[in-house]
Symmetry: C2
Subunit: 645 residues, 2 copies
């Protein structure tokens, strides 16, 4: 099995020049990172205070005060640092690096002599540390700090934070593990598992892999650690099975994706990492089963996951309400992490399809186009008056917010977008897998040769993608292009202008040949406007249709279409015309068509009547889902009624 | 205006022999009343304890203990007494009357020397009474006690409870009112307003009308009483406008039905009473406006009201989700009360249409056919797995319950059904209005003559209704038959077998003539199976259709139709066939038709695909909505997809 494993081309080797993504990376660099820095310093007027930097400062003894904010507030600085680290790779910036170094100095100044780092317990009393893993996010914060440290080390070569987190992880390693004298616990909110794998890959210290493995295998074992821990605190264990934290049964026995959606995909990411590195087929099977449950039964068409705000959680397969959902931005970000790890284990186009869906829809819908306001929850259907009035929609915002008391999503988006280059390709020996169609360059060893790869495309607006290879001497290797699920197997593939032979394998077209310097591949998938129908088990979408073109899911917004979007019907014969996006929505395509609409009732029309409502023609303009809510607040819908199905 | 007022034919004058309702009245008498008596005594195994009788017993000094249950627990005994009083009218029962007398003795034993009656404060300390009208339901409990007392006096002629409540109301009257030295408060949960009108109509004491008038006019006046009262308790006033209690602004300024649905319709009922008796057109206008807002914008097709369980409340006009609604049984009961009062003010068929809709659907859906289990919430769409998994449906039960800690609904249903006879007719001078088609007899003075009226019908299963009149000498009067909204103006009307002339007025066919002894009227409205379409402003019902026959709204249930009811489509050409109701659902009609169904997807079918789902023929059996959940728990739906609208 191990021979199928692939490795991502690291970010340090990738230069993204893609029009769609590079502009967003620049927004992260020039807007989100400075904005979030101010937010972490409580310096954004009108935004919920973060308290984050202040907590570190108090923990370091530099100022007096109480810990404020959520117990996991430290993680926001870690995510900011991680995003900074990625931008420094593709855009060195001495002043920003200086800022990051100072933040790291502050973090290290707060670190305790034994390596402990969490400001909540440093401020509130170290004697209570590691007594409430269930609720208090110490290991979660450490996980984010490890990810930041690994990224910053890779980016700048500086090891201060890396050394600091190693000391803290070593402390954790000395306290947790299978030995009888150790605590048999694991993170309440998963992430340290996958972070430890990154630390292992950086440091090559097997104890970090072993600790990740322990956390994953121990999770949900009897007696349940969180229950024991609660009893030790003199509390009753929480009632009911702890599906919220995926900690009710061992992970290998879990059949359905359950509980808090972000935690779930972070856990599964760690499982995939550990399974790959330990050759643990049983764990990989569990991971694949849970992946399939997410993407085949519990995922919105936008790549959003989490059907309810209550626990920010999955509910049950096929329960996907569009107007009371959660689909947290972080959960889609986590789904990208998981997809990448699934691709490392076995390159299958279905994994990359989901990754691409989340990237072009459910993740970036979490930010305004200027990168300064954010959605936590990503609904697929909004009527502002009802959102305001119906408590079932209490989690839905109709406009993105400046910041959140619990501000996990904005910096999570920043670190994802800033590292986008690392999601494009994976490789092994003499095969290069092209997962995403993003304009970028890289250089890597393939079949023993140094090969330069350059991808040019106006994706997702135009389907054509040209890949050219440069090398000193001809090189034999396989170029494996993902054939997107959405092109229904319709595409053209040419090499130097002539048809080229290829083999299909797991959704990839494998072109195996000896490549000459300057060879180029032109890939043009069919990219029509598509009608999507949900599996009929999704009761909320029965009789409805959504629109997708390439990877981009569209929606109707009041700004273009007026009110009453739930009255829209899309006839089978409707023809779509491409239009430039209305401004200020940036570059891209809108789609126009003539639909139908139930005629609006008059003011005092009866509530129920025996006459069927009449339909009239209605011009519709569809915009990409990610672009909604960048103009005046109003209605939005992804799904509309399908006519004559 | 006053000449349009009508008076209900009192229950004492009515003998119901209607097959549909008499059997339910007997269930109230033989099952619900004994069952509820046991429940009030905490003697139903497995049911939530009531504590009600025990609280009275403690308050009376007959046993020791603490007050338990909700602050409004007293009201359950009052409702039970009221239901008993009504049954004693049409079915004297010395042993039951003895039981009721003993209950009244207990209530009176607990009454304080100054007339105060509420067991919560009697047990917990009288010094705190009347300090928290907002939350503590003292005046609500008194309202129910007044209703019980008036009913018991009318039924048995016994005045013990009536005298007791008069003393308590007099105490309240001495403490509340416009005078500077009095408290300027009003009930937190309305009902005392309409109860005081009943007390006024029984005792003819104008102070009871004045007190009701005061409560209604004072409600929502600045400074807000509940805020002042909170400050006097040393608490902060509750944040936000108190729409929950309809106490944010004066009732005459209220434009929309808002807040707790039961409270709202109880308040509006009191408003209608006071407006009628005081000739207050402004108040009547407010009442009519709020009525219209309820029935034209916020009512389910079943006569249910309350779109959310959060506050058991209305949300905004046209927000009527079918699966996360509340539609509390009590709220539909209250809607019947309100409709009757609207009819007293002005006999318009639209009021009786709503009353009939609530009676045949949303009220009696609150009980099993045997009268021993109850729904608090009446959803219009249920999938048990999703109800169990999605917290937005936390208020929905898929099976009726034995009892509730907050057990307002079961005895409210009992008192409604037991007094059904009082909703059939109203009259004035020489006009008799027939609002409901229910087999029953009465005798009353019309145009100065004593007239006996007998109605025979197999309604709602068969449309024909025959009314015959007996009298000693010919009598000139007008017989006004409501033409139901659902017959779309199609009906036949004959007198003694020959066509008869009539005038239409506000939806009533007025037959004005000199009636001879033995004259009979045969009324046959058109009663086809009807498709109902919601106003397109109701986004949850767009593209959907419901089925009604006469006043009875139908639903599909899993017991007859299998799973996947949300996949059902009803084609325009579907033909309905009448069938006997499947047993054990009792006498009545089911409706069979051939519909369509989206084909169920295979186990691992993709979540989204570009192929539209296919439809296949599917046999459907519709049962009356009130009869659902009397067999195995399963799916149910009122609305299904409409084909080719």
């Amino acid at each position: 099995m191990s021979k199928l494993f692939t490795t991502p081309v690291p970010l340090q080797k990738v230069q993204v020049h893609d029009p769609f993504w590079k502009s967003r990376m620049e927004i992260v660099r020039t807007r989100m990172i400075p904005y979030q820095w101010r937010a972490l310093h409580d310096a954004v007027p009108g935004a919920a205070p973060s308290h984050c930097i202040r907590n570190f400062s108090i923990a370091a003894g530099l100022e007096k005060g109480r810990f404020e904010g959520y117990v996991f507030q430290d993680s926001d600085l870690a995510k900011w640092l991680e995003a900074v680290a990625y931008t420094l790779i593709w855009r060195p910036d001495a002043s920003l690096e200086q800022q990051a170094d100072e933040a790291i100095d502050l973090i290290c100044a707060a670190q305790q002599p034994d390596g402990y780092m969490d400001t909540y317990y440093i401020i509130n009393g170290l004697e209570k540390r590691f007594t409430n893993l269930r609720d208090h996010h110490e290991l979660y914060c450490l996980g984010h700090m490890v990810e930041a440290a690994v990224a910053y080390h890779a980016s700048t070569g500086k090891a201060k934070l890396l050394n600091a987190v190693c000391r803290c992880v070593d402390l954790v390693d000395s306290l947790f593990g299978p030995e009888p004298e150790k605590k048999h616990g694991y993170p309440g909110h998963e992430i340290l598992e996958m972070a430890l794998i990154r630390l292992y890959e950086t440091t090559q210290q097997p104890r970090y892999l072993r600790l990740a493995q322990y956390f994953i295998n121990q999770r949900g074992q009897q007696p349940l650690y969180f229950d024991e821990e609660a009893r030790r605190r003199g509390e009753m264990p929480a009632p009911g099975p702890d599906t919220y934290r995926q900690a009710d049964i061992p992970v290998r026995e879990q059949q359905h994706a359950e509980g808090h959606a972000v935690r779930a995909v972070y856990l599964y990411s760690g499982m995939a990492d550990v399974a790959r590195l330990s050759g643990d087929d049983g764990l990989q099977d569990a991971c694949t089963r849970l992946w399939q449950d997410v993407v085949q039964r519990q995922m919105y068409v936008t790549g959003g996951i989490g059907a309810t705000g209550d626990g920010e959680a999955f509910t049950i397969p096929y329960d996907l309400p569009n107007d009371t959902n959660y689909a947290e931005t972080c959960a889609s970000v986590g789904l990208v992490f998981l997809a990448q790890r699934m691709l490392r284990s076995a390159p299958k186009a279905e994994y990359a399809d989901v990754m691409e869906c989340a990237l072009y829809n459910g993740t970036i819908s979490g930010m305004t186009l200027d990168g300064e306001r954010f959605f936590y929850v990503n609904p697929l259907e909004v009527e502002p008056e009802i959102v305001a009035a119906n408590p079932n929609m209490r989690d839905i915002k109709i406009e993105r917010q400046k910041w959140f008391g619990c501000a996990c999503c904005p910096p999570n988006l920043a670190r994802l977008i800033a590292s986008l280059g690392s999601y494009l390709w994976t490789y092994r020996e003499s095969t290069l897998y092209q997962h995403l169609y993003v304009g970028a360059r890289t250089e890597l060893q393939l079949g023993g040769h140094c090969v330069q790869v350059c991808v040019e495309t106006e994706y997702p607006w135009k389907p054509a993608m040209r890949t050219s290879f440069s090398m000193d001497t001809p090189a034999a290797f396989t170029y494996a292009l993902r054939i997107p699920g959405w092109c229904s197997g319709k595409f053209t593939l040419a090499c130097n202008g002539a048809p080229v032979s290829y083999q299909m394998q797991d959704g990839y077209a494998l072109i195996e040949r000896t490549w000459q310097n300057g060879d180029s591949v032109m890939f043009v998938p069919d990219m029509p406007v598509q009608r999507l129908y949900a599996n009929p088990r999704v009761r909320d979408d029965i009789g409805k249709v959504a629109i997708r073109r390439g990877p981009v899911v569209y929606c109707l917004e009041e700004a273009d279409n007026g009110k009453g979007l739930q009255r829209v019907y899309l006839p089978t014969h409707a023809v779509f015309t491409e239009r430039p996006l209305p401004q200020p929505l940036g570059k891209g395509l809108a789609l126009a068509c003539t639909g139908l609409s139930v005629v609006e009732s008059s003011e005092n029309a009866p509530l129920y009547q025996t006459t069927p409502p009449t339909l009239v023609a209605r011009d519709l303009l569809w915009i990409p889902y990610y672009a909604w809510a960048n103009r005046a607040a109003g209605e939005m819908t992804v799904w509309v009624h399908a006519m004559s199905m």
